[in-house]
Amino acid sequence: MRIPILKLGRYLLISVQVELDDQTALQFQEDLLNKIHQEGSLGVVIDLTSVDMIDSFIAKVIGDVVEMSSLMGAKVVLTGIQPAVAITLIDMGVSLQEVQTALDLEQGLERLQQELGG
């Protein structure tokens, strides 16, 4: 299963709509990095509104993908993390300190625009 990655100007948009199993998550990591390389994207918004569970493995994959993207010059904003998912992550002691967040896709894009100067 592959997660579709949409291109919007200099940005990439990803809305995760499937239950994240390990393989899909890793495949996504690879696809995203290739796409950033290919398009020279400056910003990425990953929308997690439909994700109802993030365990420590998925959290690690997401944290890694953010770090790797930033190495390649693309800022990542995570959006739409559900309250229940956020509380569970905090319970587990996973706070994703380095990751930028926003409420939803719209605010995520705004945030990128502000940081990248329009």
Partner: protein, 137 residues
Amino acid sequence: MSNHSCIEIANEWGIVSARQAGRELSKEIGFGSVDQARITTAISELARNIYLYTEIGKIDLEEISDNHKNGKVRGIKVVASDKGPGIENLRDVMIDGFTTSGGLGAGLPGVKRLMDEFDIESIPGEGTTITTIKWLR
């Protein structure tokens, strides 16, 4: 009338089906969305441990009830058991950040924090059984 299901964890898909079964059962028992996420995540961690460290194991999910001072309390019991190598040093695996797999090291201590009761039994060379319970408040 016990509500019971057992999922074999032989591959990655086992992890997904275990947590789906967990979400369904916890919803049925009447847990709120936050506790559903906690239970599902704990199951995912336990199932992943089985998948990563042992050939085969299983997750047992069961609805339970107990007489509490306010009357009957319902809960979900999750038992993860495997016939793997066992855990040499139980103390180490319960430390935050301890990892042998390159993960976040939040696995078992995380599960303990997500659930209400946590018990681990392991015999090196024979296998590990982890029993956890979440009560409906």
